[in-house]
Symmetry: none
Subunit: 523 residues, 2 copies
């Protein structure tokens, strides 16, 4: 039995996020992965008639085996003025066959009288007898006290009465919810401490991130006595999101020494986080604590130097404990240890005093002054280093290109076309293609020219294209920097081009992207 | 004098973020906006020989007037074994002419002996005499105690000794830094409380977000006695970022009743946040607390219903206090006061209930869904409103264009040429021009075609051109947004274009820019 029970609500509260909509299949995939990861509860949804997907999820999930997690169905207390056994919504919860039922109830007097439009006493009865009836139907009932913290600040005694009603009804856990997400850690500390003192039932915490403090609030609540933590993967949720379990779990395990997953599972954190974002079709946040692509990336020259001497000097935890990795970025601020770290990916035994380190560093600084930026363009950096060391033979020669965009009249869409001329050995290829815009046409034409001789290019495709106009510094012409990200399905690499002409800047980055892809494939 | 002094380090620590690199012009623009917003300090960078951009920034900034903020130059304590007045790095700080100098020093014994490789005593002397000498040169010296919290946990007495050394040297503020970003709120509370008790000098707090708690940690530190808060706009910074001032400032003002901006400025928060992300060319985080596009977006049907009954039921603060707006994701009818405010610039007596307000709002929302953005494109917004009201007659008709870029061989520079066909009344003009790149050629050709009949266009010129590639949302093709800034020497206006083809997006913005310029001039 872990010290803190993780209650994942990605599939219910997480779906309130703008832009997230899981299919039933998606939900089953996420639930399967979370079960394997070792969370204690998976809240699958609200199985009522207006959510047929959630109903189907529970019906299919009931027939599957779950190794660690218990599935929970979510709903609310009964309506005012009827018996719980006559409330179709409570009946739906039982019909879901979920072994755990979680219901929310009001604990803020404002909501009781203004939103629910019932009396304070009837609300207490609704909580107590809904919980009590559900306990005759399933083994475990959790009570979510909605708006508990706002309710406590408005009328502490009434908010505590709502918890007591659920406890009398036999609830297995009382979850204190900061539904509006506006609490700060010191308020959480005070209110949880008091609630802990007043009630014997286990307490849980459910935070939202509207004040940017959901993680700190959750940890504060655990320290003050909560033993169940509700949250979502990657913090998905309505408005600013729910408490982010991908941050909370490692904080609990690594910093507070609290066990909350199966042993050995924490190193899967980064991979589980990315898996869920993949299924949710949401771009991962590169600076997310613990799991972000930038979370262990070092840029400042002095920092890099210190990290190479002792990683704990600029890393709060070792990246491998959460399945992430250290990255050394190249920038204005970088020095020779940064470059050395990078070049070791290419030449693992490279000595710091090898002259190539200084040579690459000088060239990088010159190019940065011209507007290049290599931190998202490791492909271009590696090509540059290999060229400087005389290790790189170009797989093809470029001759020229022409790009044109024609808009024939005001109503028509513009037409983009490109021609390129390249040679491979003694064979010259001169071809043309069109595209959605001038850069896409150029990319299409270059690939078309090369794919016949390098069929592996079929796997290589452009996945991201960024443009930045560099502000003109006195006298210099304005320049454009293009960053391209390319993948072959296994690895992804960045390349860069800079020129006053956006087409030429794009061309440089496109050519580097393809050369890097060809060399990687061993052509 | 505000209760808490906001110390913005976007231009120094924020630049350690992956993907962020400000030009000198960018830095001056950001500093100007922050000064107007009302922060107390703006840390501009590290003016040493390896950062020529930061040096230039301080030289140019020293000759400008600053209304609220003091500029701070950043550096470190002197090197071991020399006198402070002989340390070129400290001399550079003084030469920057910044009225405030901030230096960091080590306060973690591990770093003193392992990274800096000096003795514990020499480190204390380095702190004290560096601060003392700088105090003979400038009015205000701030000491950043790097790794203070890790240092305190390793050896509390030594960490406090480092603070005392800076205090003896005459530091005006001692800033406690969680450099690795791994602290949790309860640790911050304990350590700040002890430090506050031990020292008489004002304390500051500088947090990083590696544990996802930078905001909560900062607020906890303020409650425990820190009166200076260091952070960055949008939380930009190395790894997971710095403490996010766009979250901290409203938490301090709205929740803790602490003043930290000039009165009335908090409602500019969302706009300042977006301005900085625009200049940094970083996509704004849609779920950022307070300023995110989703931060006051309501999706759940029950929530929407409750919010319509009483917004406080699901909103921790009113969105307008921070210049954001409520969005109802199903049926959106928000924002009419924003639009009304904008349209009053055109029609000063416009009534809120005038149907043109709703008409413009609907059209703007449609266009925003397609990727347009009008915050920096009021020229386009005004043209749109005048067209919808039937008040705008186009001064010329567009027929078409052709743009081409030719690179004849690998060594030669690309050649860009554009042709355009327009008519003014019954006169048709068909002409051509070349330029530095395709957009410049198009701009030149369009101007050439029009200047003969509209000679005032000679005063109108393009001053800024920005491109952003919009991330593809499910199924939709990737689009490009172009923002152009144009001036006639008296006024400056922004225009916008969006299209999958960058040339067409640029053409839209160029045409709007010229039409706006002609109408303004009364042609």
């Amino acid at each position: 039995m872990p010290d803190v029970l993780i209650y994942d609500t990605t599939l219910r509260d997480g779906c309130q996020a703008e832009g997230i909509a899981f299919s039933v299949e998606d939900k089953l995939l996420v639930a399967r992965r979370l079960d394997d990861f070792g969370v204690a509860y998976i809240e699958g949804g609200w199985p009522n008639p207006t959510s047929p997907k959630d109903r189907e999820f529970f019906q299919r999930a009931a027939d599957l085996e779950w190794s660690t997690a218990k599935l929970a169905a979510f709903g609310s207390t009964r309506r005012p003025g009827i018996a719980p056994e006559d409330d179709p919504q409570l009946q739906d919860l039982v019909a879901s066959r979920a072994p755990v039922i979680t219901i929310f109830g009001k604990s803020w007097d404002l909501h009781v009288t203004e939103i629910l439009r019932t009396t304070r006493d009837e609300n207490l009865r609704m909580i107590e007898d809904s919980v009590a009836w559900l306990k005759t139907q399933v083994a475990e009932v959790i009570f979510d006290a909605e708006h508990f913290f706002d309710g406590y600040r408005a009328d502490a005694e009434y908010a505590l009465e709502c918890l007591r009603a659920a406890a009398h009804g036999g609830a297995d856990c009382l979850v204190l919810c900061d539904t509006n997400g506006g609490m700060l850690p010191h308020q959480i500390h005070e209110i949880v401490t008091r609630s802990r003192a007043e009630l014997a039932t286990p307490l849980g915490i459910h935070c939202h991130n509207d004040a940017g403090t959901a993680v700190g609030n959750t940890l504060t609540a655990v320290i003050a006595g909560c033993t169940q933590v509700q949250g979502t993967m990657n913090g998905y949720g309505e408005r600013t999101g729910n408490a982010n379990l991908c941050t909370i779990i490692p904080n609990l395990e690594l910093k507070l020494g609290v066990q909350c997953l199966l042993p050995g599972k924490l190193s899967e954190l980064t991979s589980v986080s990315h898996y869920v974002s993949e299924i949710a079709n949401v771009m991962p946040d590169h600076r997310a604590p613990y799991v972000g692509h930038s979370s262990f990336a070092h840029k400042g020259g002095m920092h890099v130097n210190a990290v190479m001497k002792d990683p704990s000097s600029f890393e709060h935890v070792p990246p491998e404990t959460v399945g992430n990795e250290r990255r050394i970025l190249v920038s204005d601020y970088s020095g020779s240890s940064t470059i050395q770290g990078k070049l070791r990916q290419l030449w693992p035994n490279l000595d710091r005093n090898d002259p190539i380190v200084a040579e690459v560093l000088n060239r990088v600084k010159e190019l940065e002054n011209e507007g290049y930026q290599f931190e998202a363009a490791e492909g271009s950096l590696q090509l540059l280093a290999r060229r400087l060391r005389g290790e790189l033979e170009n797989p093809f020669d470029l001759h020229g290109y022409r790009v044109s965009v024609l808009k024939a009249d005001e109503k028509s869409e513009p037409y983009s076309e490109a021609t390129v001329k390249v040679s491979i050995g003694d064979r010259e290829v001169h071809t043309a293609a069109d595209g959605d815009g001038p850069v896409n046409a150029l990319d299409n034409a270059l690939r078309k020219a090369l794919t016949e001789l390098f069929p592996r290019l079929q796997q290589v495709q452009l996945v991201d294209y960024k443009v930045r106009v560099l502000t003109a510094d006195e006298g210099t012409a304005t320049k454009v920097r293009v960053l391209i990200e390319t993948t072959d399905g296994q690895e992804t690499w960045g390349t860069v081009g800079v020129h006053a002409n956006i087409i030429e800047a794009s061309w440089q980055a496109l050519v580097d992207a393809i050369v890097f892809g060809l060399l990687r494939n061993g052509d």
